[in-house]
């Protein structure tokens, strides 16, 4: 099952140190991937708008890694917004944050996050997490293929819990 897959990951994270660690971790992975980084919710929404418009510089991601605590629009608000958008709600979002508060965990899952990971501190730990993320989302799980959009007229997008 070790096929080279090209995947696009959008990281929504304001801390430059963490941005670097995740970038480095992904670079070491066998699976070819394109990492795009946005430092806040608003920037990420603009990025995704570009994706909707088929802007080559901001391709639609196959996976979003989302920090919760960011200035301006926080992670939860961003998550709520994209889950209400029928063009974006099929993209899996995994929370990657320093908080392990029960409240944050429950709220994130209620907003339909597809995973919640507490940020580790070392590169080695980040690498392990990135590897596990890719194994799950790009090796064993099937992805939505662009262009297979089906008119699910009876299926409303989840509008947030």
């Amino acid at each position: 099952m070790d096929t080279l897959i090209s995947t696009v990951i959008l990281l929504v994270e304001d801390d430059p140190g963490d941005q670097k660690l995740i970038n480095k971790s992904l670079a070491n992975e066998r699976i070819a991937n394109e990492l795009h980084i946005c430092s806040c919710g608003e920037e990420a929404l603009e990025y995704l708008q570009g994706g909707k418009n088929n802007n080559a510089a901001t391709p639609m991601p196959d996976l979003i890694l989302l920090d919760l605590n960011m200035p301006g629009m926080g992670g939860k608000e961003f998550l709520r917004t994209i889950k209400s958008d029928s063009d974006l709600c099929t993209i899996p979002v995994v929370i990657l944050t320093t908080s392990d508060a029960d409240k944050d965990i429950l709220e994130s899952y209620k907003l339909q996050a597809s995973g919640y990971i507490k940020k580790p501190v070392s590169l080695e730990q980040f690498q392990k997490i990135v590897h596990d993320l890719q194994e799950y989302w790009f090796v064993i799980c099937k992805r939505v293929i662009p262009g297979s959009k089906h008119e699910c007229q009876n299926d409303k997008c989840f509008a947030g819990g």
């Binding site: 099952m1 889950k83 029928s86 709600c89 099929t90 899996p92 995994v94 392990d100 029960d102 965990i105 429950l106 899952y109 209620k110 339909q112 597809s114 995973g115 919640y116 990971i117 507490k118 580790p120 080695e124 730990q125 392990k128 997490i129 596990d132 993320l133 194994e135 799950y136 989302w137 090796v139 064993i140 799980c141 099937k142 992805r143 939505v144 293929i145 297979s148 959009k149 089906h150 699910c152 299926d155 997008c157 989840f158 819990g161």
Partner: protein, 159 residues
């Protein structure tokens, strides 16, 4: 540390052979857990609705869901639980024979937290279930839905 001793995985699957395979694969994984089996969407929904209002019962922390079942299929079950405020937080992973692009898109649209096509070989099947369990029970933190363990129900990463 595996805290699924007090946690339940709900398997919604009508095929007896697949039920057995999945149960065994989970039991032999790095993260054994208690498994509740429902053979149909209706049975699963009934189980969840019965437990959600009862403070002495746990809810499952993860749901594994087949799509093609007689009566209420997987899609309809998924649609219904995602509309329930007390159930919609439970991650639901599709485990099905279908690799239809339409099925995949529909399920993600309904907020499935993963879509896995059942492999045909037992070895590959085991491997897939092992990796699925690893992601949810070791990499991710799940909502503690169990009421009998008062301490933190989250997994400490052993990295």
């Amino acid at each position: 540390m595996n805290d699924l001793q007090n946690g339940v995985v709900l398997l919604v699957e009508d095929d007896l052979g697949d039920q057995k395979l999945i149960k065994m694969a989970l039991a032999n994984s790095e993260t054994p857990c208690r498994i509740q089996v429902a053979a149909s969407g209706e049975e699963a929904l009934e189980y969840l609705k019965r437990n959600r209002g009862d403070p002495s019962q746990s809810l499952p922390r993860l749901i594994l869901l087949d799509l093609n079942m007689p009566g209420m299929g997987g899609r309809e079950f998924l649609r219904q639980i995602k509309m329930e405020p007390q159930l919609c937080h439970i991650p639901t992973v599709i485990l099905t024979t279908s690799d239809s692009k339409t099925d995949i898109e529909q399920c993600y649209r309904l907020q499935a937290s993963g879509y896995i096509q059942k492999p045909s070989s037992i070895m590959a099947f085991n491997e897939v279930v092992r990796k699925l369990a690893k992601y949810w029970f070791m990499t991710s933190i799940l909502v503690k839905n169990s009421l009998d363990n008062p301490s933190r129900q989250t997994i400490r990463l052993d990295y």
